[in-house]
Every structure is written in structure tokens, then in C-alpha cells.
Amino acid sequence: MEDERIKSALEIAMERAASMPNLTQEELAEQKEREYQPRGAAIGRRYLEGALKERDLLTELSKYQGQEGEIVRRAFLLTLSQSIRLENKSVSLKALEGIKAVEPLAGFDEMKRQIEAIFDEFNQQLEQEVPRYEALENERLEQLGISGSAVKPNLEESQTWQEELKQIQSEYDSRISKLKENLLPD
């Protein structure tokens, strides 16, 4: 008689949930990671785009506590660290300041100084190489019958320069990557 009574929606839902396999601890952690990781990354992006001030970062991150807070914080730091790139010095420096505001590691200032030095070295090398490659391009244009003070080659379309640039960049990128590893907490 008991079994034949009409079940409420809640009872049906509870029964179905009970029949589902339980998630393991790892699966639960993964699920949390999937949920909170984008939130940390979004805070990082908003900061880099200027929508969030440096002073507001801690307040924003403190909205998430415990395990969730840890995931958000890690994702935020990862986003900032990934945006430290040779192509954009100002964004990189902003990212460094953001990391410092949230994770004031010992020796941070020294690390920042080293990264800035790499940027300067890279720019100096470009300043030396660009005129050399422009001269080579000018020679190539002259062979095609195009010369004069009005002519300035666009190196962006020069295959030889692009190959050289890639090589120079990879050398500096690997030096920056090594330093970046120390920026993030273990």
C-alpha cells in the first residue's frame, strides 16, 4: 500500500540523485576548478584592460574564500603571468604590478628588474637589427629598380626579417619564461 502512494516531485528527484554514482574527491575538485578558474582569469583580464584598479584586486579576490578562493587566485596569477610577453612591454609591466599587489613574493623587485632588463636588451637588439634588415630590403628593392629617399621598406612583409625576428624573440622569450616560473606560488 505504502509503495503505491503518489510520490512528490522532491521524492522522485531524491531517489534519482541517490541512484546516481557518487563523484570522487578528484572529480569534485575538477568540477570546482572548471567553475572557478574562469572567474580568476576574468579578474586578471579586467585588471589588464583597466576595468579594475590595482588597489581593488584584493577586494575582488577576497570575494572567494577557501578552496574556491585558492582556485580563483591561482587562475588570476596565471593570467597575469601569461600576459608578460615581449610584444607588449607596458602590459607586461602592468601584469607584474598586479602580481606584486596580490602575491608579494620575496625578491620580487629583483625579479621585476631582471625582466625589465630583458625587455630593454630585446629593444636594443631590435634597434640594431632593424636598420640592417632595412638596408638589405632596400638593396633588394634597388635590384627591382625601386630606390630613393622616399622609399622605406615595410619589414612586416619581409620573410627574412620575420624569420630573424622569430629567432631573436624565442631567445628572449625563454629567458622571460624562466623568470616567470618564479613569479607564481608553488
Binding site: E142, G145, I146, G148, A150, V151, K152, E157
Partner: protein, 297 residues
């Protein structure tokens, strides 16, 4: 033939009725005055009204002139050709200096539209056909110079570059617009001397002439006293300054500067009310004077 450039056109439009065998016909008289105020030449004679009413253009009649569409070739000097646009839509005049580069490759200034935006007129095809009629192979275009980066001047450069590996040159200040249009730039042209050919046989001067666009350039050929003026100056008119990045003040300065040059052939970027090719020192000076007196106030 081109000296009698159309002043008046009769345009025939048709609109089909729901019961198929009946139709409305509209005869549209388009009068092009000799003097057009700047900034209005694109809107004054728009076909938009008949189009909005559901009419389609079926024919045109130019009294006292050719009925041909597309670009009409003119040989100005031994190796200097003008391709004057005569279609319905807006498109630019193109200019070609044959055998200007090594291996008899040509210099082309402002190829214009590939296909015009409203009436889908084949601007580039027509230009190539006109070149080939003169024995000039379009595959031999070695360098395209863009006076500025409005689509009616630069659109076809992308295709020519892709097809022939032609180099494209323009002023750096117009680069952002050209890149937005998907174009690639091989050479930035700045004010100075442009030497073409091997051994150098053609000495041109590039003038930075902003106003219609920030990176507008004009090409001066001192030996032949030719100025390729792009959209700085037309017959009795000037380039527009109401477009984004346009500046009336800088256009005025550019025109005043160019008027100091010794010019026998003033080659304009558009055939507005005139083919846009002004010959003879006096006629050129008179045109500059007219503009200074009536437009550059």
C-alpha cells in the same frame, strides 16, 4: 572624344508590376555641372531614390559622347597612360607609366575598385582590358602606388598583389585604413625622391599632401612636368574633407604647395564633370587660381 565629357545623361529605369506584363518606366535626367562643390559629388546625383522605389537601371544615353562604361584609355606621353573612369558608380582614374621598372615592368597609380559597389561594374577587368589593348600586360605591373587608402582608389591593389606578386606602396599614415581593408604594404612612401628603373631612368618626387586623408601623397615627374594629384585637386574642385580624418586646413596647405610646381599635365583622381586631365601650364594655373579664389576661402 573625352574632351566632350558628358554633362547630361538620360537614364532609363524600369519597375515591374505585380501582374507581370505591366511595368513602369522612369526617365531620369542627370545633369552634371562643370563646377561641383566639394563634398557633394557623391550624393548630388545618387541613384538611391529610384532604387528605393523599386526601379532598376536598364539603360543610359549620353548626348554627344561615348556610351562606353569602365575606364577609357588615353596615351598622354610616350609611356604615360591615363585610364579615365566613365562608369555609373564612383571609381577613380588610374595612371600607368609603362616600362618604368626593371625587366620592363610597369608602375600603376591607383588601380581603383575591383567591382564598383552599387552597380557591380568591373573596374579592374576593364582597366586590364584597356591595358592589354595597348599591348601592356597586366602581369607586368611591378609596383602599385596608392595616393591614399580610400576603397575607390586602393581596393584592387590587394588583388594585383596576390595575382602578380606586385609590390604595393603608400604613406604610413594611411596604413591603418588599408590594413582594415585587408591590404598588405611592401613599401612606405614618404616625402622625397623616388627613383625607378635600372639604370635609374625615371626620377619622381613624392609629396606628402594630406587633407583628404592623413597619408595622401602626390607624385610629381619633373622631367615631363606631370603631377598625379590623387584626390587633392580636380577640375574646378577639390578633394572631400568631410570623410573621417579629413582636414580642410591641411588640404588647403597641400593645394597651395602643389600650385608652386611647374605643371604641364595635372592628372586628377576622378573625372568629376571633366575627364580630370588638365593639359597646359596655363590651364593648370587657371584651375589652381579658380580653386584658390572660389573654394579655399
Amino acid at each position: 572624344m573625352l574632351e566632350t565629357f558628358p554633362e547630361t545623361q538620360l537614364l532609363l529605369f524600369i519597375r515591374a508590376k505585380p501582374n507581370f506584363w505591366r511595368a513602369d518606366i522612369l526617365v531620369y535626367l542627370r545633369i552634371t555641372p562643370r563646377i561641383r562643390p566639394p563634398a557633394q559629388h557623391l550624393t548630388l546625383f545618387s541613384f538611391e531614390k529610384p532604387r528605393q522605389l523599386g526601379y532598376h537601371l536598364i539603360g543610359r544615353l549620353f548626348p554627344n559622347t561615348t556610351n562606353a562604361k569602365g575606364k577609357i584609355k588615353m596615351k598622354l606621353l610616350d609611356n604615360l597612360y591615363a585610364y579615365v573612369w566613365q562608369g555609373n558608380d564612383n571609381n577613380c582614374n588610374s595612371y600607368l607609366i609603362a616600362d618604368a621598372l626593371k625587366d620592363s615592368r610597369h608602375l600603376l597609380v591607383d588601380p581603383g575598385h575591383i567591382t564598383t559597389p552599387f552597380y557591380r561594374e568591373p573596374g579592374l577587368d576593364k582597366l586590364f582590358r584597356e591595358m592589354e589593348a595597348e599591348g601592356l600586360n597586366a602581369g607586368q605591373i611591378g609596383l602599385v602606388i596608392l595616393t591614399h587608402c580610400h576603397p575607390d582608389h586602393c581596393e584592387a591593389a590587394k588583388v594585383i598583389r596576390e595575382q602578380n606578386g606586385t609590390l604595393v606602396a603608400l604613406h604610413k599614415a594611411d596604413e591603418p585604413v588599408y590594413k582594415n581593408l585587408g591590404g598588405k604594404i611592401d613599401i612606405y612612401l614618404q616625402e622625397g625622391e623616388l627613383v625607378l628603373g635600372e639604370p635609374s631612368k625615371l626620377r619622381l618626387k613624392v609629396f606628402h599632401s594630406p587633407g583628404q586623408s592623413p597619408g595622401h601623397i602626390t607624385i610629381y615627374w619633373p622631367d615631363k612636368k606631370v603631377l598625379i594629384a590623387g584626390d587633392v585637386i580636380f577640375y574646378r574642385s577639390t578633394g572631400r574633407v568631410d570623410l573621417p580624418s579629413g582636414s580642410a586646413k591641411t588640404l588647403k596647405q597641400s593645394i597651395e604647395r602643389l600650385s608652386q610646381l611647374d605643371i604641364e599635365y595635372l592628372l586628377c583622381g576622378h573625372p568629376y564633370g571633366h575627364p580630370g586631365i588638365i593639359r597646359g601650364k596655363n590651364a593648370v594655373q587657371e584651375n589652381f587660381e579658380f580653386i584658390k579664389r572660389n573654394i579655399l576661402l
